[in-house]
Symmetry: C2
Subunit: 143 residues, 2 copies
Amino acid sequence: MQMMIMRDEVGPAWRWTRQRKVIVAALQGRTDHPTAEELYHQLKATEAQVSLATVYRNLRALVREGKLRELKGPGPDRFDPDTSPHYHFRCSRCGRVFDVETRYREELNRVDLGPGFQVLGHELVFWGLCPDCKRGKEGEWQG
Amino acid sequence: MQMMIMRDEVGPAWRWTRQRKVIVAALQGRTDHPTAEELYHQLKATEAQVSLATVYRNLRALVREGKLRELKGPGPDRFDPDTSPHYHFRCSRCGRVFDVETRYREELNRVDLGPGFQVLGHELVFWGLCPDCKRGKEGEWQG
DNA sequence: GTCTCTCATGATCATCATTTGCATTTTAAC
DNA sequence: GTTAAAATGCAAATGATGATCATGAGAGAC
């Protein structure tokens, strides 16, 4: 299911370049929230070379337009092509990020933090050990 | 209410140096989750000078020992002397971080993310406009 | 107090993630 | 095709943070 990314007209004209197509396609092709660097390496292996700066520039641009989510945390930023409301689990051992579902989204969206605070959204991140790392407790780190 | 920070004996001996006293006191004296740099500037103004490297070293050391919390996000890390369970609100405009309370902590601690996942904790961060920034929507950024 | 052994500090340099400047190439529109 | 604005690639610049290493300072033994 290849979801097209369109662009509402704001700011300078948007050009659908070869690099942008490749970057978006690569990101949408995986569900593991890669870093810019990881995406860059993937593309480098392809015939469709893209510079690291361009990967960063385009990922940030897409985030600015709300087409991607940017996940902060220890280590480099990760990017999530799924902008629908959902939460994440970060493995403390291998650093990988997984999607998770909970039933609290509606409630948390309505939280009142007191007078004067305008809440526009929230992030919920669980952390612990992922199945792989829990199983191989004494083993090696998996990238 | 000046809370003492003690240390359980693990690793090399802990020396209660002048710099450590000053850093901890400065951090506990504020509730606004400062960055290492902000803390450094505050101390620089004092007669009790401390190098930036030492500020970082000691903040990280205290985090490692669970005496402080480290808040990730856009911009440099912030530090919270309050390690009791609570959540945060980050102003998208000025970047400041505020403490918030919700009634979901117990429930969220018990969330089951599926077989194999060992959940050790979670972070919940709300974002939006703080009272100051909401009021002065067209004004300047406040640091 | 003072000796001494570690550990901590300060200053600088190194690194990692990311951004930016700029000359060159592409795209989208005519 | 021509053309102007926008995007790219590369390299150098940043910003936040960690590491190195010679020097300084706690803390316990005497």
